[in-house]
Structure formats: C-alpha cells, structure tokens
Amino acid sequence: MTYRNRYLIGAVILLASIGWISLWLWFPAPKEPGYRFMNAWGSPGNTPGEFHEPIGIAVVHDKVFVSDAGNNRIQVFDKNGGFLRQFGRGGSGVGELDRPMHIVVHNEKLYVAEYLNDRVQIFTFDGESLGVVGSSGSGSGQLDAPGGVAVAADGRLYVADFYNHRVQFLSPGGEFIRQVGTTGDKGIRAGLFNYPTDVALLPNGDVVIADAYNDRIQVFSPDGTFLRKWGGPLATNIPGRYHGWFRTATGVAVGPDGNVFVADFYNHRIQKFTSKGQFLVAFGSQGNGPGQLERPTDVALDDEGKVFVVDFGNNRIQEFAPIR
C-alpha cells in the first residue's frame, strides 16, 4: 500500500471518528421516558386567575407563585391552580412592581426581579414588602433590567443583570461581592454573556445561568470560576432545534434530584439535563392544546419532581409529571 493511500485511509477514519463523536455530542438521544401533561390553568386578562404576559414561577410547599408581568402583580395559587391571592400594583414605590420577571423563594420570602425598577424586591408570602436591593445603573451593585435572581443558603443574591450582560453576586443587603461577565460587553467566550435572564443554584451552590441570547447555559462556582457551558456545538451561540440546543434559553431551574431544567423559549419546549450538562429529555411542542407550549419563559419544580411551566404565549401555567 502506498503512503498516499495510507494517509487517505487515515484521513477517512479520522473524519468518520470526528463525525461520530460530533453526532454523539451534539445530537444526543433522550435518556428518559419524558413528562406527561397533568393540568393547566389561566387565560388572558387581568382578573384573578388570568394573566397578561406571565414570566416567572416559584413553587414552595403547596403554593405556586407566578409573576404576572403585564399586570404588574404576583398571583398565588394552590398546586391545582386554585387562586389564593394576589399582590402588587404598577409603580416604583415600596410594594409596587414594574414588570416583575423571574422570582425565587428562600427562607419563606419571595424575591422578585423587577425589570423596569432595576431592583430586586423581597416580599412575605402575603405580599408585605420587606425591602429592595439594587438601583439603576451599571456600577457595582447597580442593575439595568434585572431578569432573574437566585438566593444561596447564606442569603447571598445572584442577579441576572440583563442589559449589563453580567450576573452580580451580592450580599444579602445588596453589597457587591463580585460579578461574572464584563459589564456592557456581550460575547461568546466562556464567562461572557449575551443578555442573561435567569439564575438557579445546584445543591452544591454552583451557579447555573440562562445565557439567553447566547442560546446556552453557563455554570460557575460561587467564587466566580467558570466551570462549564452547554447549548449547541461548543456552546458558542449557535441556535437550533436539536436535543441539547436552544433557541433562547430564558429560564432555568434545578430539580429536587439536582437536574437542570431549561425553558427553551423559541423551541416551545422544556429541556432537562444533568448538572454536568448531559441532555436527558425534552418535552413540549408549539401550540395551545394540553401539553403544548407557546414560548415558555420559566419552569419550576415541586419536591416530588412535578414540573410547572409558565406558558407565556398562552397566558397560562401548565403542570407536567415524569413518566415512570
């Protein structure tokens, strides 16, 4: 066999190997049975139980909190969708809201990222305001359109600072600790963001960030060290409809088993991954029927692993349960 033929054969084997590895990496098959539709509630409007552009969701004990952004209020339901109460009204004062986005519960308090008020406001479950964190701007501790927030066990806040292209790590009182991302600069390198919208925490405290317009997830340690990213080939802002790819990842949540759930907005689905970013399963398709989604913005889980989805485009909440 001539040297040329050997090189050709070698090249073909190498290309085939790269192709096979790429298929395995970037077009993964589901590893779980999936989720089935259980319940849905809500319709367009501004009366109790109706929604106008719902964005965020949090589930704790037997209650479901929903940020009803277009109506500038928080609505509280039982887990069957029964309306319990609402609080908030449009404005910039204490207790008022201006486009509440993603929300999170920590130590029996509700934390609300307010996009147009450039702050995070903290409430009791009954809607009494306990104070705010942040002010308008791009300096340390300032915010420009915060989209989401997570709270660590020690009360530290992680805020997705949307227009500043960063996630700030703040003390419970709002003092700046550090940030990931370069203020005002978007990019696709690890550690840069392109309009981050949401934050969630893994059981070990690692910070999971929905890097929305980079179509990816990025994960950092609490000291700000970049750990990993995923979403399409090399997680470099290549959108797509395949498993493990995103078309604008707007919301992120961590389940009771430590897996990561992502609201994949323009793909009208929820995707589930391990904490290391391995694709497990996806569910949802575009539409307004039971189990269908129209631009979901957020996802939350209860202690049993049931999934609650903000079905933004359909102005409703949907509940799914794992198929066992």
Binding site: L116, F162, Y163, F312
Partner: protein, 103 residues
C-alpha cells in the same frame, strides 16, 4: 348690549380653544418588527419611557404595536421615538400620530 354679548361669546370661544389644545394628548402608534420576547419588548418600553415628554407606553406583543402617549400639551419628536426603537434593537415598520382631545 349686543356688542357686549358678542364680546363675551368671542372670549369664551377663544378660552375654549386654548383649553382644548392644552388638554390634547398626542398618541403615537408604532409598528415594530420582531417583538415576540418579553425581555426585549420590555427593554423597548424602558427606552421609550425615557424619551422626553412621554407619559405612557403600552406594548402589544401579539400585534407588534407600541402606543406612546405624550404628556398633555407636549409634542414628542418622531425622530426620538425612532431612535429609541433602534437603540432597543428593533425596527420601526410604521409610525402614525393621532391627536386625542381629552374632555
């Protein structure tokens, strides 16, 4: 006597005209392409609310339309609205101005 009546009527007519124009609020209806995500649409709302003399901004994501209402008696420069839309990353597909006289 008749001249006095006419004078009073003229003064009342002028006062009504002035009061009417002072209460008029201009409404701008902007067609915006590509608005389907609330994170970006609210960013447009944020930019438009900072334009001088804007009183309120209402965004209809489904229709791709933004209604901007000026403060009473004020005029918003169309160029300022176009710039705000552009700075938010969107494109203006249409822009019309409607005079809305309040009672």
């Amino acid at each position: 006597m008749l001249r006095d009546v006419i004078k009073v009527m003229v003064v009342m007519a002028v006062v009504s005209l002035i009061a009417g124009s002072a209460m008029a609020q201009t409404k701008h209806v902007i067609g915006v392409d590509g608005m389907s995500c609330p994170f970006c649409a609210y960013g447009l709302e944020k930019k438009l609310k900072k334009v001088k003399d804007v009183e309120s901004v209402t965004i209809d994501l489904n229709e791709g339309e933004v209604v901007v209402i000026a403060k009473a008696g004020a005029t918003i420069k169309e160029e300022s609205l176009r710039k705000a839309v552009h700075d938010a990353g969107f494109t203006v597909s249409s822009l019309k101005q409607i005079e809305d006289r309040s009672e």
